[in-house]
Symmetry: C2
Subunit: 659 residues, 2 copies
């Protein structure tokens, strides 16, 4: 095909991609790990409707693919039947119900009432509770005391508790929140009415208590981020990335081939992008690296004991995914470059009906101008440019936006990147700024628990912790975790008194593999296959290299920390169990911390030479600054899985210089 | 100008850039901080020649710009006289001489013999010592014992000691090394003849001792990185970055303007790129951030007590810059993208004559497809793409290549990035691989002090530590260092038992500012101007945010560690002193550790509200792997200086969506 014709055809093909991808959603699944399809959502709906168990007030809160048994997936071949199940969470009169539906056989497999857990909140609940709150005479009175009589610009919201915060939660579905007054702005963030809190029974749909503690004027900080005075940067010339012959990757359904990488992905309403069966095509051999990788949970505790703030602890995925799936759309040319291809996803909406979400993932090759390797020797320069394949999504939970990347590199590295942006949560205070305040951050100061980001507006201190679940399968299912500790060795050498040596140790049980980062006691974290030797006699392996991260400073026996307990260690390793997928448990709402990583690992199960899962905690403490307001610049964090004695030598060495 | 004409003109302009930049080197300096010019090198040469102090055997080892007094530079205006001095290091009969030359007045200001220090090694010394070694009958005999009688493919080398390793060094210029046999390869790395060490007197040019300990066959590992069997990646389509209207930055001499950033840079033979007078153009006001920033030193200790390895400790800049300046050329399209502009530099060569080094720095705008900020709200998506200005150089010290970036970001961040690539140092061992070995990394195993990277070839464990010197001048010269410690606070709140709060403290003296990273005792490192308040009443500031880094594990009283003592802490803060520029001292060769950061700070000088300098240690431990062989993929590390209450709000918010 002549080049000129190709150039014409490729944009045309790209235009066709969207309808094709939509079409694909309503076809039957081609692989057991594909996301639920349109017809499957309807089958689940039909099976439940016909089960005779649904009452008129039974509400569907969640419909997720019940991930099939790993052994069955690994044994599956194209042409085999595709076994499919959906796990459904329903709520009736405050009682959570779990149902499991066999889709292929159109059969309700189980139906179980759970009085010990709370289903995740839905958008409908939010809406209903807002209505109840705004009609409550005590709320109306409290607003009136603040001079607010026009209720139209008032938004009220009740948030679930992400932990068992109060004894009265027992056996009840309780939420607590307040109202905001967004007169004069197009976005409600930062307009909270401080000092007024409303406790509601979400099952009974009634206000339990209105606490009106003190009056603080609503913040007037200019939050309208698109309306701000612009500061043009004259002379900015355009910069563009182009691939005139199209991308180098091939996508077949949700199976991706790029360079020597092969992987599948699906877009899950709770966890976002889930990578499956990722590995390296090594000649005619496929070598597995990661059976599954995904974000597992997010834990965001705020650090202010005030009314309406002490309870601000969010387990973002598990608590909120049912208000509309966790992934939100990407904007072309802002979130992804012009050479990106986009993907839609399906999630359930009202009644469990399927709903399409457009453009929630993008896939692109990135070249930032960096070398992959280089060497200068005898006046000669060798090297090649670095090209990366990026699978990008954005999780948006209220005010915060998280850009989540899986970056496949040509040297075998798999980098996971988290970019935090969006709007920080602020609190209105009476003091204008830090000059008014008796002393920066001191006890009793208006910024004791945060930092002014604008007049009368304090960004409240908080943490972000992400748990990434990585079912590593290096060259096969059975792997071991090996900590390579760097230990000082005293020498009697006339020239040297000390060096460090490596002390490798294979973790036998889960407690051996709870790893914390200490600069004075460094260690490397290797996932090896003790049954497969590389060419130099070492087991083949992948190393998990942490980036900048943080550990939780909260008391281990503090309610929030029990649910976000994964933040205690930077790495955990568990035996793979099908029902251990969520680091803070299936139901973090009102949780006593009786499910999740810290609980499973208490029995200290064996993890040597078996099917293991790594859990990496990526975290950061956030003290806000003026520059984070009204929308913060992206703050990036990452970690890497990199081959360690997996390839016989540097795999990018033999590539041509051009990226 | 019509677009079509512009397109024609711009490549033409780019072609013209190189000669223009060459021309600039021979013009008089336009600013006191410019690198030494061609005519200035000749003036230094003439002044020394005419001084009557140069004997025929006085050798010029180093000619560097003597950086002018900061106050004078800050007071300087275009049109003022440009005061210029050069500091020269000479060597005669093993005695180091320091000379200071006033260039403008063509005057020798000082001439001082230093018997207590060692000048850095030169290429000529290497060459002469190689000749001496290869002629030594004991060396010839030792090679013969190994079956090597053809001396043509034998390279011998003697390395200086980076520390006071042996009592006999006192008053002598001693080096120690060995030989390699590069028959069959085009690159000599990995061909060392183990077990044979030669000690030489570099002043006397004679062999002092030949130690022939044991015979190990020379490694036959395929090091010829360009000859390796290629693994084509079929279907790789081209990817390109383009700026059809040219770059957005302006370069006038070595003064750069880009967006709201302004800075100068020079390419120094010892330190590489030095950033000066970096700051933000804020309307009609220039606001300083960094008076000067540069890499200050590199410390690379190896971790093997064997003969020929115990002494492998490199203070890469201070020891080796005189063998040819530290920066080496960049390869277009490999090291920098196609939209990059390149810069040459001048350094002294034989006799102190100037020599041009082509294409040792590049400047380009990078867009990798990432957002600068984004937010999704009410089904609306806002944000903009991220564009970065990169000033890139590559320091090459023997086997290792370090890609060094200063990355100016539009949100006010200044990111320093180090990419380590090149060839790892290996040791030949008798055992073939790890299967032969009694136990991986155990005492007595062939890989006790390293890791096999190829057959009979062990990559030896080592560290890389970089000290970056950052003369922060946030909104003026006088700054303070404020540690913001995050400290747990126990609560009596019914909902929460604990939070963390910020405890800021201003460092009064140097010891208050020696910072170590502990995840359980986190702190933020702020450089503030206590005399300038931002709009919210806080002092304006910049925060230094570390990336992944490491601390040295060696004994503080170990010889190498005394010289590389900057690696003990991740951050140091000192009062700015003109003669404190090199973290391991001016003369690390054979140093007893009596100069450098750890020594200067012993007196615990005051650092509050004065002209301060931050020293950041970026480090990593390196256990090699098969994938690092024969040239390792780039391993990136970074840290960031980011505005903290410097701008009134997010400075990238008002930018158009296009990057």
């Amino acid at each position: 095909m002549p080049l000129s014709l190709r150039k014409l055809l490729i944009p045309l093909l790209c235009t066709l991609l969207l309808p094709l991808s939509l079409l694909a959603q309503s076809q039957p699944p081609a692989h057991p790990l594909e996301a639920l399809k349109t017809q499957e959502y309807w089958t689940v709906y039909d099976v439940l409707r016909d089960s005779g168990k649904m009452e008129t007030d039974t509400v569907t809160h969640s419909v997720l693919l019940h991930e099939p048994d790993k052994n069955k997936v690994l044994a599956w071949k194209p042409g085999d039947a595709v076994f499919r199940e959906a796990e459904v969470i329903l709520l009736r009169k405050g009682i959570t119900i779990e149902a499991l539906v066999d889709i292929a056989n159109r059969k309700l497999e189980s139906w179980r009432e759970r009085k010990d857990v709370q289903a995740p909140v839905t958008r409908d609940e939010f809406r209903e509770l807002e209505e109840v709150m705004k009609k409550d005479p005590r709320v109306i009175e409290a607003l009136k005391k603040r001079g607010i009589t026009d209720l139209a610009p008032v938004d009220c919201f009740a948030d679930p508790f992400s932990y068992f915060a109060l004894p009265e939660l027992d056996g009840h579905r309780i939420m607590m929140g307040g109202c905001s007054y967004r007169h004069g702005v197009y976005v409600g963030w930062s307009r909270d009415i401080e000092g007024l809190q409303v406790k509601v029974d979400a099952a009974e749909k009634k206000v339990l208590q209105v606490i009106d503690e003190s009056i603080t004027p609503v913040s007037q900080a200019p939050v309208n981020y698109q309306d701000l005075e612009t500061t043009p940067r004259p002379g900015t010339t355009p910069i563009s990335v182009s691939q005139p012959l199209g991308p180098s990757f091939q996508v077949k359904g949700t199976e991706v081939a790029w360079q020597n990488w092969r992987f599948r992905f699906r877009l899950d309403p709770r966890l976002g992008a889930i990578i499956n069966l990722a590995g390296i095509q090594d000649g005619d051999r496929f070598r597995s690296v990661l059976y599954e990788g995904s974000m597992s949970e997010l834990y965001v505790p705020y650090m202010d004991p005030a009314l309406g703030w002490a309870n601000r602890v969010f387990i973002d995925a598990g608590e909120f995914y049912a208000t509309g799936q966790i992934l939100k759309p990407l904007r072309a040319e802002v979130d992804c470059p012009s050479n990106a291809v986009y993907f839609d996803s399906l999630a359930w909406a009202d009644h469990g009906f399927p709903a399409i979400h457009s453009q929630v993932a993008c896939l692109f090759e990135s070249y930032s101008g960096d070398p992959a390797w280089r060497h200068f020797e005898d006046q000669q320069l060798s090297g090649s440019g670095a090209r990366v394949l990026v699978l990008r999504t954005a999780a948006v939970v209220g005010n915060y936006d998280y850009v989540l990347d899986w970056r496949f590199e040509r040297d075998g590295n798999l980098r996971v990147t988290v970019g935090a942006t969006g709007i920080v949560e602020t609190k209105a205070v009476k003091a204008k700024d830090a000059a008014d305040s008796p002393g920066h951050s001191t006890a009793g100061a208006p910024d004791e628990f945060g930092h002014f980001v604008d007049k009368n507006t304090v960004g409240v201190n908080h943490d972000h912790f992400f748990s990434f679940r990585l079912d590593v399968d290096v060259d096969g299912v059975n792997n071991s975790f090996m900590a390579m500790r760097l230990v000082k060795l005293k020498l009697g050498n006339p020239m040297r008194k000390s060096i460090w040596v490596v002390e490798p140790s294979i973790a036998k049980n889960e407690k051996d593999a709870m790893m914390d980062i200490h600069l004075d006691r460094p260690s490397m974290w290797h996932f090896i296959n003790p049954n497969v030797k590389g060419p130099l006699g070492y087991p083949t392996g992948y190393e998990l290299m942490p980036g900048t991260t943080a550990a939780s400073l909260l008391d281990p026996d503090d309610g929030p920390q029990k649910v976000g307990a994964f933040s205690t260690h930077q790495l955990w390793v568990t035996p793979n169990k099908q029902d251990e997928r969520f680091a803070s448990g299936v139901y973090p709402t009102q949780s006593k911390g009786d499910d999740g990583l810290a609980v499973w690992t208490k029995s200290n199960r064996p993890i040597e030479n078996t099917d293991i899962v790594a859990w990496y905690t990526l975290g950061f403490h956030h003290v806000t600054r003026a520059e984070d307001w009204p929308v913060m610049p992206v703050m990036w964090h990452d970690f890497v899985l990199r081959p360690f004695d997996f390839f016989p030598r540097n795999p990018v060495l033999a590539l041509p210089p051009a990226p």
